[in-house]
Amino acid sequence: MKGLARQLAALARGDAAADRVVPPAGFTVRLTLFAAAAMAFLAVFALALSLAAGRLADRWGEELARGATLRIQAAPEEMDRQVAAALRVLETTPGVSGARALDDAEQRALLEPWLGPDIPVDRLPIPRLVTFSETGDGYDAAGLRLRLSAEVPGAVLDDHARWRAPLVAAAGGLRLFGWMALLLIFGAMAAMVTLAANAALAANAQVIAVLRLIGATDAYIAGAFVRRFTARALAGAAAGTGAGVLAVALLPGTGDAAGVLTGLGFAGWHWLVPLLVPPLAAATALLATRAAARRVLRDLA
């Protein structure tokens, strides 16, 4: 790690005279630039997927932890009494806090996506909802159901965990998938840069022979190639990252209601995360070229 940091510092300082020993042209220039740009573009999307999946998992997880709902179905004249009974039961249940009945406006907001605005909630035979939160180690759902069946016969306990837990697990899996894709992208970039570096080193066998004849060390020769390829990878990755961020920004979103696909993108400080892609691509190219140069120089010795 120290060696890598030292090389990155040397790269930043540059060595114009030493860098000129590597011929400037060749197909490896275009290959490295294109590979770095394409991989950086894909890396931005993988990052967006990971971060979006992470946000979704966190949101679902928070909602899961936030609580559960009681659905109370009763005749209109019984409704208030059952709601009051349900609240009493919840207030005396260990592990439950913040129990409250949703008012008409809140119920209307919940139904609006399906039934449209201006629903006469007070005149429709719709159930009343009571929400509550878990505290500490949580509550005994089976015990609560027993008490409710005895004291509030019209109440049904809706435990969100049953249907949210698999979704949270899926979102977590998707996040992991995104990070794995990112690793594979950088691995593929390392492989392509290695191929390009091998080709460049093989094509420049005469350059290497001349440099050795005049006493250049392997570190000097490798350094010239490493700096050249790292700079190319950095430039390509910067272009690819810019294009990727622009493409993500132009994706249609759906705001707070965004899911994994419709909400693919960055939020808040996550927009800064893609800035890590070019230096990571440069570090990948540096390591790949250094390993390739050492191998080729050893073989040519």
Partner: protein, 225 residues
């Protein structure tokens, strides 16, 4: 400086050189002659560790080549100027940059070094070709540029393989004068050549030993030279 102790070199099952014991001391001047294919270039390559002996031992600056890693070989080569027969250059750099390459590699790319470069290019008659690319040079110009590159860092020893093969008599005399000057500064010089006139000219100006490779061995040449 460069010492051979009963050195042999074999390649492809055949022995090219055998039983060579000699030393290139500081200030010495040697010519190496022999028919084509006798092993002159192989001998020179053994001198700068481009090849390792298959028998005996070569010592560079008091260290066995067998004890040198690749960095050690590179360090030794920075003290030995080599002029190859085929004069390899970096074709994408100018002649001046190629000649200055040893300075760049040694980290001596300062103003004084640039002044030395200009003087050296003038000495080998390449000032007007300083910005040309090596493929644009004639054979003689390439050899002069190669010699300039070999001596620019003032190495302890200079090994030249047919350095006057493609130049006219006047230029060969100028190159010889340059090598003699370096020799007077204490540099060891070894020139592999077929050019008997060059050897005779040098012997009139310096106490040079003439070695001949014959029957895979290196021997002192007779009075015919």
């Amino acid at each position: 400086m460069i010492a051979f102790d009963n050195v042999a070199y074999s390649y492809g099952g055949g022995e090219l050189l055998t039983g060579i014991t000699l030393a290139l001391a500081p200030g010495s001047f040697h010519f190496l002659t022999g028919p084509s294919g006798a092993g002159k270039t192989t001998f020179l390559k053994l001198c700068y560790a481009a090849l390792r002996p298959t028998g005996g031992e070569v010592r560079l600056f008091d260290r066995s080549v067998f004890a040198l890693d690749r960095d050690g070989v590179a360090a030794a080569r920075r003290r030995i100027g080599v002029v190859h027969q085929d004069c390899q250059f970096l074709d994408h750099l100018s002649v001046a940059d190629n000649v200055a390459l040893p300075l760049t590699v040694a980290g001596l790319d300062g103003q004084a070094a640039r002044r030395d470069l200009a003087e050296l290019l003038a000495w080998v008659g390449l000032t007007h070709r300083a910005e040309a690319r090596p493929p644009e040079l004639s054979g003689g110009e390439r050899q002069r540029a190669a010699l300039a590159r070999a001596v620019i860092v003032s190495p302890d020893a200079i090994l030249a393989d047919e350095p006057t093969g493609n130049v006219d008599w006047e230029m060969s005399q100028r190159l010889l004068t340059l090598l003699l000057e370096l020799n007077r500064m204490g540099k060891a010089v070894m020139i592999a050549t077929h050019d008997l006139a060059l050897i005779r000219s040098a012997k009139s100006q310096v106490q040079a030993r003439v070695l001949r490779i014959s029957n895979r061995r290196v021997q002192l040449a007779g009075a015919d030279l």
